[in-house]
């Protein structure tokens, strides 16, 4: 029963947020004279023939894989209370270097693919590691340093693309790196589709989907079932409590950012190894920022992130059909933006609601044992040395009287 109730509560906030966002978007559409139901109709219309429908599903899945990885990269850091806003730079730099490395070597099939993947993960990890080292040794806020490193990474990527790693002829309008040889391509899953008895469409389903699933499971196990994951989540919930119980905060920051960066390095690979085979000026951008949205929507939980990635991918796919139907395709971005904002607000309201319930349940206990007004015998001086750190622990102890009054 309690499990059912808990999952119900966990799902309630995001679902409510999505509904609210859809209502707001519908109101916006009405305001500019577009019938929202017609827009919805266009968005869910996957085509008439089985081949068209399977193609549409593949487009959604192919888009969802990088979004899922991006969300995962952000979420790993988020769970520890670190904001890795630098995912965008990490994956762009990782992809351009992986494309260069993959094109430079010639290895037998699987080894070639693994080599490219390892290069991408290493680059992503190193780039995120800079943020961690600056935070730990110099006290630079990871928010600012990762934003600055985004710009630096984009500059470096454009330098590498136009300089050392350039593969296009001079004067080409779209500049790309050299193509990765066929031994380095990731096989598609279309064989699996026909084995399932579905129509074999012209579009390739990225084989990287399997890698993403494996990475998702590994991250989920790491967070939920290991000592490291426990330390990580504990630090995220209360840094002071975690360090009091013997967690090495500095090492945790560095390890977490390295993992987050390594996952971020994978984001560009589905497109790189599955269809493009080279990095160019037209390569998919903005996945890092969308990853933040996906992680928030999925509440930093791998399964939730998968659902959020599918939802965002579904919305992205709708952009082209909407354009064809004469409806502004930026409706999609509006829906995504309002979803994110509605989700963070809904999460916060739900959290506060849950806490108030827990408090009203525990109020009797507090009244019998607590001494009310005084901060407590073991609390030491009321205003501690670190206001930011003592805050989290101080809150729980002092809310009871006012909480019941309001």
């Amino acid at each position: 029963m309690s499990v059912l109730r808990r999952t119900g509560q966990a799902l309630l906030a995001p679902l409510l947020a999505v509904v609210i966002a859809l209502v707001i978007s519908a109101l916006v559409m009405v305001a500019i004279g577009v019938d929202p139901f017609r827009a919805l109709d266009v968005m869910v219309d996957f085509g008439d023939t089985p081949s068209q429908q399977v193609t549409a599903i593949i487009v959604v899945l192919n888009r969802a894989v990088p979004l899922f990885l991006a969300g995962l990269a952000v979420a790993v850091a988020f769970r520890m209370g670190l904001f890795n806003i630098g995912v965008e730079g990490q994956y762009r730099l990782a992809t351009v270097l992986a494309a260069g490395a993959g094109a430079a070597v010639s290895l037998p099939g699987p080894v070639h693919v693994v080599f490219t993947i390892v290069v991408a993960m290493l680059v992503g990890a190193v780039w995120a590691g800079i943020v961690a080292v600056l935070k730990v040794t110099r006290g630079v806020s990871e928010v600012i340093s990762s934003i600055m490193l985004n710009f630096i990474a984009l500059g470096l990527a454009s330098f590498l693309l136009t300089g050392p790693l350039r593969g296009s002829e001079p004067g080409a309008s779209i500049i790309t790196t050299k193509d990765i040889p066929e031994s380095g391509w990731f096989p598609s899953l279309n064989g699996l589709l026909s084995a399932l008895g579905l129509a074999d469409p012209p579009r390739q389903l990225y084989g990287f989907l399997l890698v993403a699933i494996v990475v998702g499971v590994v991250v989920a196990v790491l967070l939920k079932r290991t000592r490291f994951g426990f330390d990580l989540r504990a630090t995220g919930l209360s840094a002071s409590a975690a360090s009091a119980s013997g967690v090495d905060a500095k090492r945790m920051v560095i390890t977490t950012m390295l993992i987050s960066g390594a996952v971020a390095g994978l984001i560009g690979l589905p497109d790189l190894l599955g269809s493009d085979h080279s990095y160019g000026t037209e390569f998919t951008s903005g996945l890092g920022f969308l990853g933040i949205a996906v992680a928030l929507l999925g509440r930093n939980n791998p399964l939730g992130i998968a659902v959020a990635a599918l939802l965002f991918a579904f919305l992205d796919r709708a952009a082209v059909p909407l354009q064809i139907a004469g409806i502004p395709s930026s409706v999609v971005t509006i829906i995504q933006g309002t979803i994110v904002l509605a989700v963070v607000i809904a999460n916060e309201v739900a959290r506060r609601f849950a806490r108030r319930q827990a408090e009203s349940g525990g109020a009797v206990h507090a009244a019998t044992g607590g001494d009310g007004s005084s901060p407590g015998p073991d609390g030491g001086p009321p205003s501690g040395t670190g206001p930011a750190l003592t805050n989290a622990t101080g809150t729980a102890g002092r809310t009871d009287p006012t909480g019941s009054a309001s």
């Binding site: 710009f151 470096l156 136009t162 930026s330 994110v340 904002l341």
Partner: protein, 427 residues
Amino acid sequence: MSTAATTTSSKAPTRGPVTELFLGGGRGRRLTWILVGLLVLVSAVRVISGEQALTSSSTMAATLLLAVPLLLVALGGLFAERAGVVNIGLDGMMILGTWGAGFAGYQWGWQGAVLGGLVMGALGGLLHAVATVTFGVDHVISGVAINILAAGVVRFLSETLYVDNPAGGGVTQSPAMSSRPPTFSLPVLSSGPDLLGKLENQHWFLLSDLAGVLRGATNGVGVLTVIAVLLVPASYLLLWRTAFGLRLRSCGENPAAADSLGVPVYRLKYTAVIMSGALAGLGGVFLVFIANIYREGQTNGRGFIGLAALIFGNWRPGGLAAGAGLFGFADALQLRSRTAVVALLLLVAILLAAVAVVQASRRRFAQAITAAAFAAASLSAYLTVDELPEGIVSFTPHITTLLVLSLASQRLRMPKADGLVYRRGEH
């Protein structure tokens, strides 16, 4: 006689007349000396490297153009963060400001553009305030969400209002503004006979540099630049010399204590964040004034650099102005001349060598050796590199930010309750 001598010597026992000249007289005099020293240094580097672009009036004018939007955004950040609300959404509010300026500008001229940018930016600020103050959402998360949302909103608005608009424009840009804002020049000195310009072209050590800087700062200055520069002392006076400012800052330092003294914390936070958005929007207006048109992606992440300038300036108006000036200069230099950026390496080498000497005299040898090593590295880079490629030069301001923050972040002090969600009665 002897008592008088002992009292003066006890006041400044170790300072000789020279040290007294450089370090005495409080912050104002010291700041002046730092500025003079910097000008001499840059002037020397210009003479040695022969890079006239370093202090030319056109570079200085470009510096001013590029620094003012950062200055406005950083001032916006100052109001929000002094009230305890971290504002990562500044870039989004700036984007909204550019769109508002473009929309109002093509219909009602430059005065309309200013108003439009202010209003759109303030709306973004209002959204941030609702999320963070009323609903208690994490400040960084709300800011990121606003950045994502703003990009979508302006694209959507352009798509519905500019496509098929007889005045021009399209999905990514507005019609051109119907009037340009007025500009001012100083008569005689920088226009007309243009005495400063003549002096600058002599390329004399120090004098020409000073003339270049002055001419760049007084020739063809836009009305918004004047307002922005005046806003720096105005913000200082408002925040540090009025009751309103004291109350606003108390919300950023200790909101619970402020609340118990009857300060309306929520209302002040709302006011501060809305002002913050309006200032960021004004920064966007400035960008529209430069291009005479709204274009998508016009901010190019300037909201984030403004935020960095705020931190660089230790959450104070004068400091953030210096930060905005530094980033504006780095940006102007990389736009004007890619070879001049290489000359900056020489400047960095000299500064680091000075740091090494100071650290060695204080017997901090580890720091001294590190600084000396980096000084040698940048000197050798200056001697071997002729011209940096475009991709690398483009992030000069960002790497400057990162370097400065990693060197100075431990001396910075942000408002104590900055970024903490305040719920009345929960603290």
